[in-house]
Symmetry: D2
Subunit: 347 residues, 4 copies
């Protein structure tokens, strides 16, 4: 497809945190050519004037799909419901899309509609692959639409997947903490330093939209169908609770699992090692690990310990919410989709 050169990519929605970082990663990527950045805000300014530290000198344009230059792929960083129509229009021009929104993350249309409202393009759901790279690598490589996971599901599922596949999850509590960049380029009391600083703030109690995404993937892993099943089945009930803490980038999912049978450290660690031994971006830590160790990287770092006293298993999974949780995982997926080594531009 790109015998004569690098794949040509655009970032649609480059003025939010996720899109801007994606543009930065692609601009400095040795194998992709970033040909345009689009946005509704800041049109006409250079991206590097809005995000100086990313140093992307392209001018922000309005997206006009009918006048799109020849491009091979797009990263779409739109809000949910706004993304699907654009992804559809891009697909119709043969452009492969990594969608950062929630629009194509859920296999079940019913779950989507319960969680987000009407779906603008349900016809495309079947074409989409859930973009948690380590879980769906092969299908991502050939996909036209990759639904990049939410940051919380990324951290949580990487920790839980080996146990889910082994049918070991009886009950799961996920307590997630995230830096303020997770709120996005949104200006309110949750992001103002004078209110977000010196604070630990839980939000969306018992109703976070990432829960259905996590549950659906866990079920699929248990069913051995790796994301394909859209049939309702007995779920593993998941409690998911998110908190904002006063840092910029970083996310920790603390997962408390009641296993279906007793599980000791040796078996637990072997399960994880088997799953991730060859993974370039998953690190198994031998001591509790902070998010600082993965800041501004595509790594996910997991520490796991059995808690025999309480008959539980604790898994602590750290990522950078903007990198592996969003934009660098999108580039990891693009690498796969264009036959480029998966780590290219990310180490």
């Amino acid at each position: 497809m790109f015998a004569d050169g690098s794949p040509r990519v655009i970032v649609a929605g480059a003025t939010g945190f996720a899109g801007a970082l994606a543009a930065h990663l692609l601009w400095r990527h040795p194998r992709f050519e970033l040909v345009a950045v689009t946005g509704r805000a800041d049109v006409g300014r250079r991206l590097e004037d809005v995000y100086p530290r990313y140093r992307v000198p392209l001018e922000i344009e309005e997206l006009a799909i009918e006048r799109l230059p020849e491009v091979d792929a797009a990263i779409v960083a739109y809000p949910h419901a706004a993304a699907a129509p654009t992804v559809g229009a891009l697909r119709e021009r043969g452009v492969r899309a990594v969608d950062l929104s929630a629009d194509f993350r859920l296999r079940s249309l019913a779950t989507y509609e319960r969680t987000y409202g009407e779906h603008p393009r349900p016809d495309l759901l079947d074409e989409a692959v859930y973009g948690l790279t380590e879980l769906h690598r092969e299908r991502i490589a050939g996909a036209g639409i990759v639904a990049n996971p939410g940051c919380y599901p990324t951290a949580s599922l990487l920790a839980l997947a080996p146990l889910a596949r082994a049918g070991l999850l009886e009950d799961v509590v996920i307590d997630a903490k995230q830096g303020i960049s997770g709120a996005g380029r949104v200006y309110d009391d949750t992001t103002h330093l004078s209110m977000a600083g010196e604070n630990i703030l839980p939000y969306k109690v018992a109703e976070h939209r990432h829960r259905p995404e996590i549950e659906e993937q866990l079920q699929a892993l248990r069913d051995g169908a790796a994301g394909d099943s859209s049939q309702p089945a007995e779920r593993v009930p998941v409690v998911f609770q998110a908190h904002l803490v006063p840092l910029d980038q970083g996310e920790l999912a603390s997962c408390y699992v009641k296993p279906t049978r007793a599980l000791e450290n040796a078996e637990l660690h072997e399960l994880l090692a088997e799953a991730y031994r060859e993974e370039p971006f998953v690190e198994l830590a031998d001591a509790p690990t902070g998010t600082r160790e993965v800041r501004e990287t595509n790594f996910c770092r997991i520490f796991a310990a059995a808690d025999p006293h309480a008959g539980k298993v604790i898994l602590l999974s750290a990522i950078d919410n903007l990198w592996k949780g969003t934009s660098s995982q999108a580039v990891q997926n693009l690498n796969l989709m264009f036959g480029i080594p998966e780590t290219e531009g990310l180490l």
Copy 2:
């Protein structure tokens, strides 16, 4: 005892964070007279030179119990095992003590020894009252030794007590987050801003010393014995996991409860309201609440919600770890012990 004046108090161990704050609160307290501050470090310096913002002009002395001035009470801010002998010596001189260490928190000597090692003064255990004010108010008022609770147990138990008393706890996961002051005046990688900043750091996985304290109290609440039972019985298994987050003062205990039977919001909120309606320092929030709202106060602020999807209950309990979690609760207890209105010097 103090017909002719205010009760006279000392703070032993005033050079750590907890002792220094206790000294500050007593120095500005309208009803106590702070007569001495002692410490091993910084002897001869004025406390206000070590902690300028606390503005306590007393000179730090070495504690010499045999030459102690006439005092009515002491706040003892020593490490565990070091505290008990001093508390004992003070008791022998008729001084009433609020001990900030773990030495008298556990009713069961066996649990203490399993958790902390040999106990220096097991003979005093019976005399001590667990100093979570809202749970043991009456016994604290008459106590010679008050074992001030750990900060994590304070936040956790205030959230869980109403459910424990009602026998509703089947399974409890506590995910606790705390600012760096919780590590104390300790200088290492966990407190250095360049490592603690931009970090979310779990620690002491599956082995935190506050777990036995929480479990023992929950059991006593369930048994209706309010802290008196030292008999082993079937425990509610508790998972307790602590995390450091980059702020100074603030602590949130996120408690995930599997109740023994279905529990809806109405009943949950009524349970809490009944328990705390008259409490001057417990606030029931009607929206998720951040630790910022209780910073530098003696308040505990709790938000609770049923999670019917998962069949769980979520309780989010915020305190200032140095205030209600440690030093201001000590003063609250002292107020009680000397017949002073409980809120005096704390609002």
Copy 3:
């Protein structure tokens, strides 16, 4: 005037940071009665729902001066130009006002108009007293309008006043740093934690509006007229540069003075000691001092040192920008205006 009770006060503009803190300080003040809080935003909500940690249960109302209850004084926390008409209307009803805006800070109308544009009530300028308590205590006590100083002028002038009065200032550079609360309840890139965090951001280079205020006061001090002179005269040229740094509350004015003659530490320290020996809220430090030492207090803490190598004098002046820099100084002024001990409610 209030033989039968406490002076009755309102806070107009209580939904911004400054007004909300003023309301908090007055609500817990033993000698004032806070009778109303007004605002344009959040009308009908209780102030404690907007600022939970301030715990002021009054409902926010729209200000209707014609239906004003009987009040003795008002703290007006409006933007410049919006404040003056309200202050005027209050004066016409006999209400004494502490105005937190810039509207009455400058003696010279010409300077005001050059800096802020047209003045809505120049007729009131003569009635107003510059509210830097330590400099104008006696006139504040009898004033109908007190123009509360800017936070930067407060820190800078307290450091520089003793030298200005002695005619020792030849050339002044003020490098000021402030926490993010200084930007107010404004939501943009300068306050979003993900942009304000891990940043040191200079702003308004060579054009800050606090410079004319500082220069006018310095000139008045030198002329021995303590703020009364509105005649142009030879100015001490002041460079003033502000920076935002990633904390909430705190401000340091680092002042670099070229003195008109050699000045050694002994004389420098004696000048400051003479000026502030009796001041309850000015502390002269004997070591460099951080803003943390004055956080959430009405103190200004100054460290001064001659720099003989460069023939300069360095004065480092720390305040809490929201407290002494704004709201607690307003209360300090109100105390004076109503014959209440100056420290009441502030220690």
Copy 4:
């Protein structure tokens, strides 16, 4: 010299912040081979266990110069006075050294001894080149010893050099602010988050050791001798004042210059543009710039503005203190010394 491969480099003192980052940059550098990391602390641990986020898997060794493997260069990250003997021993084995300490920064031995005490190897002073790359590029390329500048001098001198060369400096005040990483891997009250957080802390008033370094370089620039002059001459008196602010990495030098003659924006900007137009790592900003824009980069970003009101010039110069201020500048110098493109491994 390295026809058969990459230059082989060691980092001596890799367990401090500066050495660890240098090791990280060299480990991922495409053209250098990092062959050893040495340290006194943590010997036998892998560097990635001490600094996980740097992911350098080499084991920390004690430096034994007599058993040194064949190496071409060393970055020496030792305290002053400790560095010089090691640099000397390395030179005697033909190893070229970039020294991060102060030992070879000053041309004048007298100034060194006044500032730091006795010099361990004054015989090597003549061989050393001051390593501010943009000022001494050609001499660095051929040097055996490069004295990497202090971080404050790096930011300050890059801002001031064009004016110094033009003889335009009459009087200079530098107010510098730095994140806590500038204090190094030192554990005390200045680095503990509970004291460094929510603080702005000036330190070393009128006595900072970076002042002589800045003055000597400014004098040399004025004399046209670019660092060579060791003769005393009339100095430009510099006031230098440092402050710690609560972030990790970032430094801003705010420079206030009284020019020897009137200087308007056009001329000022042209002076800077001429000096830095071709520089890959110096950015001239057209708006005030925060340190965040240069975080974790080798860039220096300068904003300059005339202040005609006060007859001064303001230059605001932002770097990352650990990168351009220390370790990445060392790599930039190593690139030059080994004929590698200057930006290699740094963009």
